[in-house]
């Protein structure tokens, strides 16, 4: 490998990937751009863990157990000392998914694809606010995002907005057209999902939509709801015609005939292809991967590809990878807690499943660092800007976690350092690694050095 290629491989593996593991740096060094582009295939998760449909079976189990407990409590007239429903079903279920996701990221052979999955999973953020959402939220990225990750954005968008986790999280599940059959009797419209589709998922703030566009979109997607228990049909998304607001809808100046389910889908397709959406998501993606203030020429090139291909995500990502300004020598992005934790785990990983305790402690550390999985608490998701992760307390939490994990590797710090940076670390860092008082301390210093914190 030439020195130039080595430098480019380090960027490919750290900036675009999740940090080097095993021989990855060497593999990427053959042709760094090609190494990234051949990764653009949908990640596939272990189906044994469950999916959107089976989530409803779990939710039903929780409800029946809760009812049974209430009954039991009434008979006993005091609360039994046994485990709660949360301890018995919900927490283990959540832990299973979160551990699996973390382990998946640590062991993946397509780290770039996982980075993009994480990006869109955060773009379409859902939070585990209730028991049902705790069970459903991990299935959104697995069943709606991953399969559509490298296709057209409009297909991804529709799959996400029709996923039960999103419909429940942003209250569309119960939104009813005021003039629909159901609406004339009870309940009404809820604008929440429609608003966030425009503000966060497609056009972005300042994307030129009005309050009336929000209402019109809300009416177009009224009746998009969730079948939770009728086993005659597939559990999950359901279009309920009797709750759908009848009539023509006008969004961004264009009329949409009342074609039932298609009405909302047609609007989403147009939103996905819209110039503002192309600009907004190209900018956000470049900001996520390259720099808080991404190069304008790069964003412009991505936007152009988006418009030309009507939102082909793979084509847009390819434009980004092939653009010279994506490969600036300076690492400008401070790793998010998740990127940081995954990259450190990959560095000392031996191609085997990480042990349960390590995963558990690391997940807890993520929460402590303010990066709780499915827990941003906001439909805007977690921040992707440096300043939101560089607080002093967040750094102390990184040190605490590194202090824990650095005791778990058999390898010497210089060996791990070469896996990630070849021989490109600055002399001061090399000197401190070599002079560390223990293997664990050397590794801790490696994971905490500026070159590892930035990507």
């Amino acid at each position: 490998m030439t020195a130039v290629k080595t430098k480019k491989a380090i960027i490919a593996v750290n900036r675009f990937g999740l940090g080097a593991t095993g021989d990855e740096l060497f593999e990427a060094g053959q042709d760094p751009e090609q190494w990234l582009l051949q990764q653009l295939v949908s990640p596939v998760f272990d189906p044994a863990l469950g999916n959107t449909e089976s989530a409803f079976i779990t939710i039903a189990e929780i409800q029946s157990l809760k009812a049974k407990r209430r009954q039991g409590d009434a008979n006993l007239k005091s609360r039994a000392k046994g485990p709660t429903v949360g301890q018995e079903i919900i927490m283990p279920y959540r832990q299973r998914f979160l551990k699996d996701s973390l382990n998946f990221s640590v062991n993946t052979k397509t780290p770039f694809a996982v980075r993009l999955l994480d990006f869109f999973s955060n773009h379409f953020s859902v939070s585990s606010l209730t028991h049902s959402l705790t069970i459903l939220s991990p299935t959104l990225e697995r069943d709606a995002i991953a399969p559509n990750l490298f296709g057209k954005f409009e297909d991804l968008l529709i799959a996400v907005e029709q996923h039960p986790a999103m419909l429940i999280y942003l209250n569309n599940e119960k939104s009813v057209g005021p003039n629909s059959l159901t609406g004339r009797k009870a309940r009404g419209l809820n604008e929440n999902l429609a608003r966030e589709i425009l503000e966060l998922h497609t056009l972005g703030v300042g994307g030129g939509y009005t309050l009336e566009d929000i209402r019109q979109l809300a009416m177009a997607i009224s009746g998009w709801t969730v079948n939770r228990e009728n086993k005659q049909y597939q559990l999950g998304f359901e279009f309920r015609r009797e709750a759908h607001e009848p009539g023509v809808r006008k969004v961004l100046g264009r009329n949409y005939a009342d074609t039932g389910l298609d009405q909302g889908q047609d609007i989403l397709r147009d939103l996905a292809r819209h110039k503002k959406t192309a600009e907004f998501i190209s900018y956000k993606l470049a900001q996520h991967l390259i720099a808080d203030q991404p190069p304008q020429a790069l964003v412009a090139a991505m936007t152009k590809t988006w418009i030309k291909t009507q939102g082909d995500i793979k084509a847009v990502v390819t434009t980004l990878v092939k653009h010279a300004q994506s490969w600036d020598a300076e690492s400008k992005k401070y790793k998010t807690p998740r990127e940081f934790i995954v990259s450190a785990m990959r560095a000392i990983n031996d191609n085997k499943v990480a042990d349960q305790n390590l995963l558990k402690v690391s997940l807890r550390a993520l929460t402590q660092m303010g990066h709780k999985p499915f827990g941003s608490g906001s439909p805007a998701g977690h921040s992707q800007l440096n300043r939101d992760w560089t607080g002093s307390d967040a750094l102390m939490k990184r040190i605490d976690w590194v202090n824990f994990i650095s005791k778990r590797s058999r390898y010497s710090p210089p060996f791990i350092a070469a896996r990630i940076f070849d021989s490109q670390l600055p002399p001061l860092t090399v000197k401190l690694l070599a002079g560390a008082e223990s293997r664990a301390q050397g590794l801790a210093l490696l994971f905490l050095c500026p070159e590892f914190q930035y990507r």
Partner: protein, 397 residues
């Protein structure tokens, strides 16, 4: 100095000394000439409620004839148990501590306030509320500009610095621990490792300082709840060397559906947070002002799912031992259809920044030039909000 030299012999104490000296490097004169702060410095705590608090649930005009027609399902469960504040207003029944403060003339609820952003986007409105500038600058928060003018110290109870405390003045962050801290030696080596990286070296110094200040706090149960964070905040502020102001955040106010029960829990949590803050501030409470604000209010009418959507005007609370309270402030705009903002939201009749300007003027004695630097483009509310006694305490110290 002799004391520090002796400490250098003791490896365990070394960290404390170095952490302290880091602060000294960044704060000229802090170590070389230790200044004893006067005991009674007026304290300021800002609580930001993220998500848009439904003020009409917190404080509602039980005598307004339109109230029930807009939100019968939301108001009915509260009507009988709410606290009567007089002047036609009621306080949510979960706000027990706030009611007791009101009775002791230590609380001012202000009605129909806005953050200055006529937008119903959470993110933009929060940026506006925190920045306080007519053109939002997310690198400059109003509390930072205020504490800069006051030449005081500040702390955010958060993992990373929120916009409200970003700016020229150094501000610390603190949040409870879980993992065991590393050995001192690692921190010392990190200080060397970060010597060419200004950001990381500063963050490390701040982090070490806060850990030393707050070592035992981590054991508190339910560490992350607002009530507990507010309690820790009180403990930190009560310290003689503690900061002059602090920022606390509480989220969960975006109540689009079934909000009656949810808001009941939210108000309870907020209320016990204020109580814990007061308890732990102890005698410092007499010199304290707590300001509670949110980015916007919610629709006057309930929506189709037992909640409310993003609106415009909300309310704020001004509490504390230094407050001249016991009355509801602000002008009530009315709830008739014609009185509403864009036909759906409570009409703002004042700006939270006007009230905070009055507080900064009366509590911290900021000059009008300084107030214009903190909040340009708005006028100071001409109302006495702070008891004159707090001024005399300040003057005496």
């Amino acid at each position: 100095m002799a004391d520090i030299n002796r400490k250098k012999l003791d490896r365990r104490s070394l960290l404390k000394a170095t952490a302290g000296s880091f602060v000294a490097w960044h704060t000229p004169g802090a170590l070389s000439a230790p200044v004893k702060k006067p005991k009674a410095r007026p304290k300021l705590v800002w609580v930001i409620l993220r998500g848009g608090m439904d003020s009409l649930q917190a404080i509602f005009p039980h005598s307004d004839p339109h109230l029930m027609s807009h939100r019968k399902r939301l108001v009915s469960p509260l009507k009988d148990s709410a606290y009567d504040l007089g002047a036609g207003f009621s306080l949510h029944p979960a706000l027990q501590e706030l009611n007791s403060l009101y009775k002791q003339k230590q609380l001012i609820p202000v009605i129909a306030t806005e953050s200055g952003a006529k937008t119903r986007s959470h993110f933009y409105a929060q940026d506006m509320l925190e920045s306080g500038l007519p053109d939002v600058d997310i690198e400059s928060g109003w509390l930072n500009r205020a504490v800069e003018s006051y030449q005081g110290e500040s702390l955010a109870i958060a993992h990373t610095l929120p916009i409200g405390l970003r700016g020229k003045q150094r501000a610390n962050t603190w949040y409870p621990d879980v993992l065991r801290p590393a050995k001192e030696d690692l921190y010392e080596r990190l200080q060397v490792l970060y010597k060419d990286d200004q950001l990381l070296s500063e963050r490390l110094a701040e982090g070490l300082k806060n850990r030393n200040l707050l070592g035992n706090m981590a054991k508190i149960k339910r560490k992350n709840s607002f009530a507990s964070l507010a309690g820790s905040c009180g403990t930190i502020l009560a310290d003689r060397d503690g900061p002059d102001c602090a920022m606390l955040e509480m989220s969960g106010w975006d109540t689009h559906q079934n909000q009656v029960g949810h808001l009941d829990r939210q108000f309870k949590e907020l209320d016990s947070g204020i109580a814990r803050l007061r308890e732990n501030l102890a005698e410092q409470w007499a010199q304290t002002v707590v300001v509670v604000t949110t980015e916007f209010g919610r629709t006057v009418a309930e929506n189709g799912t037992g909640g409310t959507d993003h609106g415009t005007a909300s309310a704020m609370f001004i509490a504390g031992g230094a407050v001249a309270g016991g009355r509801v402030q602000g002008r009530w705009p009315g709830l008739a259809k014609a009185d509403l903002f864009e036909g759906r939201d409570l009409m703002p009749t004042s700006d939270t920044r006007q009230w905070v300007r009055a507080i900064l003027s009366q509590h911290w004695n900021l000059s009008s030039t300084q107030l214009d630097y903190v909040f340009p483009a708005v006028k100071t509310m001409d109302t006495q909000l702070i008891r004159p006694i707090s001024k005399s305490v300040k003057a005496a110290s």
